[in-house]
Symmetry: C2
DNA sequence: AGAAGGACCAGTGGTCCGTA
DNA sequence: AGAAGGACCAGTGGTCCGTA
């Protein structure tokens, strides 16, 4: 795994080096009952998340070692409070970067985005180890439980809507890194924004599905890093729609409905 | 499949021959948009469910062909109503029967019980075919959606709590039919009730799990007819508890924790 | 008493839309 | 404007407990 080299790719400010602490926590998965608790406590040591509250209240010492759920959990929700309202910092937005390129300014690059998927996978593996240890039912996918676990372990920069949003981009990265890289370079050169790049990622994935009999679930499941992600609804719909079109036109030209195995 | 011979095993009264109509509906799975609707309508022909309302109201003609969801759906919920309360008939309770034995009186036998699991599998396959046809996400398990589908198709005698209740019994039947049959004979002979038989089904399944490295999920998944059922919580817990005990005692006697591959 | 199943509930997958 | 993510919602897995 080249995972750790990527830590450096996340940028200064909020999103700088938000990784790292889950590595201790991972352990061997051989612990006992209190593994969850151990995890959360264990994260404290090398923590480097920052919450940089910009608001009036809570300017106190939260930079280095603020991992106690009790301490910051209790007072965080000041939205409904009467007096001081603290603004919660978000992650820096993504920009289209080339492979290996570090995003500059208050931005995050796409290598960092993909790295978040790898982190989720590591959190899933931990959740699985704990579940097996306890004889509980064991998730195969990145579920709500895994996102909750990630948050508890201090990875506040990971959240479900974000991860779901870019799954098909990660899929392309997994399934055909060359095409993925080429697309990134092209969109960076053209100065496109992340939304445009994201949209463009659908087409090559659908093309891959076309070559493999249109079974996007099978394609996800066959890939060890991709199999833990739910197939995005829109990707599924695009595959289905495209298959219908292809089937219709190939039936006109006389090709069979399943001519993805040509000879 | 010997499925159809079993239809005869369901008894007179409520639970007599409640099967059969889903066979037409199954079709080739090659239909289009309206397959769901077709199903429900198609079920009408050979329907033989009876709802035998015993209450004061609704003694009308409901015996032969009352499959319109509109007709009986609207007026069924009279519990909250002021005037007439109609009592809804339940399925006959199960009794412990030998393999091949037809239950007598207002009872259902265990072959019939296991047959319900096969029916659920057929309903699942139909749901899967429809989902694939439509390019929607496709369940691998008997989900709420499948139970809803079964009900729509007229199989009112199938419901989630019942099916979940006896999963481990069906598991034993799938995994070691000889042991399952022997247990049935023994419990019938002793005049035990269904509850006692059901309880007794746990132990042999746990024993099978012990021989195969305690992974009850893997055991379920490896079996084509069992893999579509969620592992029951209690069975999972029993396997886990038993493994812990075994591991503890074998570590005392010097055996390794994974001595299920002896040589 | 033993048993069938309606109906409830906590937590899920999915993603909108108020926020920055 | 483009984008991140809190928070909501319909439908899920799980099974209790009022019913017969």
């Amino acid at each position: 795994d080249t995972t750790h080299a990527l830590d450096a790719l996340s940028q200064e400010g909020l999103s700088e080096e938000p990784v790292q602490q889950e590595k201790e926590a991972a352990g061997s998965g051989g612990g006992v009952g209190g593994v969850w608790e151990m995890m959360v406590a264990g994260g404290r040591k090398t923590q480097r998340r920052r919450k940089n509250y910009k608001g009036r209240s809570r300017m106190a010492s939260m930079d280095e070692d603020d991992d106690d759920d009790e301490t910051d959990g209790a007072e965080d929700d000041e939205n409904g409070g009467g007096g001081g309202v603290s603004e919660r910092q978000r992650e820096h937005p993504f920009i289209v970067t080339e492979p290996g390129e570090v995003a500059r300014g208050k931005k995050n690059g796409l290598d960092y985005l993909f790295h978040l998927y790898e982190q989720c996978r590591e959190f899933l593996i931990q959740v699985q180890n704990i579940a097996k240890e306890r004889g509980e039912k064991c998730p195969n996918k990145v579920t709500n439980q895994v996102f909750r676990f990630a948050k508890k372990a201090g990875a506040n920069y990971i959240n479900k809507p974000k991860m779901r949003h870019y799954v098909h981009c990660y899929a392309l990265h997994c399934l055909d890194e060359d095409v993925s890289n080429a697309l990134r370079r092209a969109f960076k050169e053209r100065g496109e924004n992340v939304g445009a790049w994201r949209q463009a990622c659908y087409k090559p994935v659908v093309a891959i599905a076309a070559r493999q009999g249109w079974d996007i679930d099978a394609i996800f499941n066959a890939h060890p890093r991709l199999s833990i992600w739910y197939v995005p609804t829109k990707l599924r719909q695009l595959c289905h729609a495209e298959r219908s079109i292809t089937a219709a036109s190939s039936s006109i030209t006389g090709g069979g409905p399943t001519d993805h195995l040509p000879f």
